[in-house]
Subunit: 682 residues, 2 copies
Amino acid sequence: MQINRNALFAATAICALASQPAMAEEGMWTFDGFPAEQVREQYGWAPDQAWLDTVRNSAVRLTGGCSASFVSPDGLILTNHHCVASCLFDNSDETADYLLNGFVADRRDAELKCPGQQAEVVTMISDVTPDVIGAIGSQTGEALTKARDAKIAELEKAGCPDSETTRCQVVTLFGGGQYKLYTYRKYSDVRLAWAPEDRAATFGGDPDNFNFPRYSLDASFLRAYENGRPVATPEHLKWNPRAPEEGEITFVVGNPGSTSRLWTDSQLAFEREVRLPVTVATLSELRGRLIRAMEESKEHAREGGDMLSGIENSLKVYIGRTKALNDPAFTAKLAEAQNDLRQQVAGDSEIGDPWTTVDEAMNAYRALYYPLRFTQPSGDLYSYAQTLVFAAQERGKPNSERLPGYTDSALPLTEKQVLDERPVYPWLDELGMEWSLSKAREYLGVDDPDTKLLLGKESPEQLAERLVNGTSLADPAVRKALWDGGLEAVEASNDPMIQYALKLATRQRELKALADAQYSGPLAAAGVKLADARFAAYGDSLYPDATFTLRISYGQVKGWVERGNQVPFQTTMGGTFERATGNAPFDVAPAFAVNQTKIDKNTTYDFVTTNDIIGGNSGSPVIDRAGTVIGAAFDGNIHSLGGNYGYDGTLNRTVAVSAAAVQEALETIYPAPALVEELARR
Amino acid sequence: MQINRNALFAATAICALASQPAMAEEGMWTFDGFPAEQVREQYGWAPDQAWLDTVRNSAVRLTGGCSASFVSPDGLILTNHHCVASCLFDNSDETADYLLNGFVADRRDAELKCPGQQAEVVTMISDVTPDVIGAIGSQTGEALTKARDAKIAELEKAGCPDSETTRCQVVTLFGGGQYKLYTYRKYSDVRLAWAPEDRAATFGGDPDNFNFPRYSLDASFLRAYENGRPVATPEHLKWNPRAPEEGEITFVVGNPGSTSRLWTDSQLAFEREVRLPVTVATLSELRGRLIRAMEESKEHAREGGDMLSGIENSLKVYIGRTKALNDPAFTAKLAEAQNDLRQQVAGDSEIGDPWTTVDEAMNAYRALYYPLRFTQPSGDLYSYAQTLVFAAQERGKPNSERLPGYTDSALPLTEKQVLDERPVYPWLDELGMEWSLSKAREYLGVDDPDTKLLLGKESPEQLAERLVNGTSLADPAVRKALWDGGLEAVEASNDPMIQYALKLATRQRELKALADAQYSGPLAAAGVKLADARFAAYGDSLYPDATFTLRISYGQVKGWVERGNQVPFQTTMGGTFERATGNAPFDVAPAFAVNQTKIDKNTTYDFVTTNDIIGGNSGSPVIDRAGTVIGAAFDGNIHSLGGNYGYDGTLNRTVAVSAAAVQEALETIYPAPALVEELARR
């Protein structure tokens, strides 16, 4: 699944460094840098500005980490089923399991509110590079990151005086080579209109994830509301439930979360040697704990499902990346590209040697990485506590001095995500906390001061149980009182989770300051030089690494050759019944079974294209030459996992569910006549 | 813990390739290659032949994967607690938990039989290199491995006509440069005399495993029996419960399981890129499943404990190896050593280019590795079935044509391990089978023919449940009937686990034949050349890679410097109480708490030496210059984990429990006056 699970941390994530000349069909292009000439050369046609404008105005970003698009004038949004799974889950209980059974709103006022969800449409992009670079001046280390973040906070606040309906975000492109201010029209009331059964979307489950041929109805419809009424969206994409044709040009428009295509050797080495091994080992253990816990009861099976699919999706991504970085043929290409760049700018005294700066920053980061990682316990309840503590502390400061997630421009979404009502399952929180605390002890060591800070004399099991059982933060009213009460209320609270978050906050700030000084600051300075190097070597028709901001990729409907065998470009709905074994996760969804004779078996189900996408693109519309929607991207094939580091057009594929299959489902399997009518309306 | 969990698979493990000049204190020396001159130079003294002979005749190998030594004339054996944990576990039930509570036999006939355990003492080593090399001749691939294995079966059978009391084993040293026939006096009735509480041995649990300073009473006593009576062992080591002195020379004598110090680049690359990642990821998930399952009930907590400690120990080893192979400074040394060897023999036409042969074999192995690994489901019950099936099939063939574990010389131990009575916990078997089958599907892929062979149309969960619930193999009488009934009984059995093992056997044989042809055969041929190269370059005073056969290492009592801080060479028993938090695994063992005031707090508890050991050395006596036992090795420090690939004398340490601490426990904590008297007897 191409969800961007890092979306919430995007602001603090490592910035991409700069870009290189793109291969044909490679590229997650910004709308102001669309390579029309390149497309025209290859396909004999390219979109004009009007085409691009309509598409851009119809494209939606979902703050949960997904992409989407408006497909009717009444705020109807197409996205993936897995992008609304949390919404279905949060609206379910033991009596009504919408995730399992799907959901069709038979009238608009039955549509389900999605906690924490917000839909955003880009309305303006302005270049603020001179402002930010000017504010940074010749500063370095922590001073650099502080000056940068202060200027960004100022620009964001000034750009969006109306924080009710707009959101401003300064985005770092080319690792600091460019800064752009994105202005969004935001809709913070997002509701669910239609979703199929979970099994229809997840047929094949984890075994088939990142696999193709595939038989998945990974689609759903949301609707944006404002003041309790559907939003009018005159700019939207036309729904076109036809089969894709082999070789036709396709565009995927969405918000790829992050890529690391321009990392230097030492960044890739850190990934391969440190981050990926610890991530795969610890997450695999969590997966095992959760799988077993879900076998304990029906309630656990239901309540743990959303978390498990997130873990398994992430693990597949990380294991795929591990394989890519352990493939000598793949890494040789990355090294070659980097060597070429170094040669192109060798002796340029303006550029100097940013590579050594990066090497030093990565060395410093190696020493900080475990403390940074493991002083962040897992669990929704701890996250609430941490956000409440930091928000209370940060709001007392001037806007320009606050941490990135707590500036005036960022606070509204932070507040919404803390205060929205959603169910908490204490056993799940306890499981996650116990796991993360025991891994902290394992990786930091028993005698490490951070382990002692985390555990005191308690065991991970005891501490997790005491905090989860003792806290009242599952109650949104309690969270609201603490949010509204500010620092005084937070410091006076005797909630053990709040006290724990307060205790950890000092060390977390200290570690962030160290990372800013030794890692983020030097990396930002080197990023500017590396971007200069790239522009000097290859000109400025480059695409930046992904940053969970709007991009467009072009490609075509096309299979690939897997170990000598041609993989067809599409599947049909009838194939589901052939692949089914009767056993989970290869059991046919009940409504598919019931309607087996009615379903048009020849309907194109899923298809693959050469578009260059990554996690965060989930739910992106697949658009044809006419600008109409013929599918929704929901996955990549297994080769796409190395796409984080580099695009290989012979193997890397986007996997999409066809609009034709969604239409068949709307008409025959999960009937929604009102939506059928709405989608057909001009 | 330095147990050799691969002991049972040693016959089919990759053979080490050849040796290089040893660094001071580096080396797991064979007794016929002891570097007396080197020791004399360094310590001004070296053991003479009589010293070496007594030590060799007192050294015991335990077939469970450990080392030990005779320490009285009545067959009393010193080893680690963790080497007898399975024995304690197998003798326990819900009413008597010897693993938790420890065990002291108040008279000899109360000593507890250890299922599957056998004690072995080397009585003769003869060089059979010419016989085996002659039989191989100029053959290659599968023909080579068949000819080699046939000759080995013949030599082993001829060497040990009395299979009741002797065992013969041909060992491959220097990757095929040498073949030696080891003759053992064997004792297949091994009983437990004394063991402390589990928490006394495992204080600090997994967090402190491979850690130091350490506070662990990881010691126990077994006794060898024959015809129902203790074995007379006039040759034994003198027990010497004194404190070790810093800087004194120490010898560790035992059976290091396997090392990979002489692997070529492509073997190390395979380890780093393929085997370690899949092993850590899958085993971490199993760990998580088991941790959660053990939290479900007291029974599960008890029944899963032995398996969990094995998994956690293995994981720590594999994660430590991953770190070592991801440490550029460490791997640079390995590469340098390899380059030196290649340069030394460059242009030697007799040696040619075995490195390329190894590269090709490793490439072939990459394609075979997942199928080989994942067509072996986990679980005791499946293992019984598989052994019964293979034994029935192999016993029908001439000795020289059988698979290694089923030759006349190997069958007695194989039979003992299948037929000995020991408890089976079906939930544990189901958990392990479900896990391994789901990992097979994940790594091989849903559409792989091997996945289809393993699962048919069933899910991993269904299949594991059906096989475990349906089989009768937990009953030793059923296993005996099938063993005695041979192929006819096995093929006629309607036991679903037997039927499943029969179904898989064909494919397992096919994969083994492919691996022999493309991997083991070429590697064996290259091994001879690489050994020749090493002998040509560095002479013949080399030590071979470890092979779970008797070795001696020398070193000294010595701490080390950890990130600028001196780690002391010993701990005292009183330190336990200072480190204790009251919470598992840092809770003091009950008998320690009760006897806190009586225990002499200044007694040396654990200590470290520079001896070069590895898994399989667990339980090895630590011997002083006088030839007396002053401790039992039970672990290495965290830096010892890279010792699989290379020894670093500045950091790598053996961890031992002192004889003084064991004596204190025998006198004060778990009183065993008869043993105290027996150990003091001359």
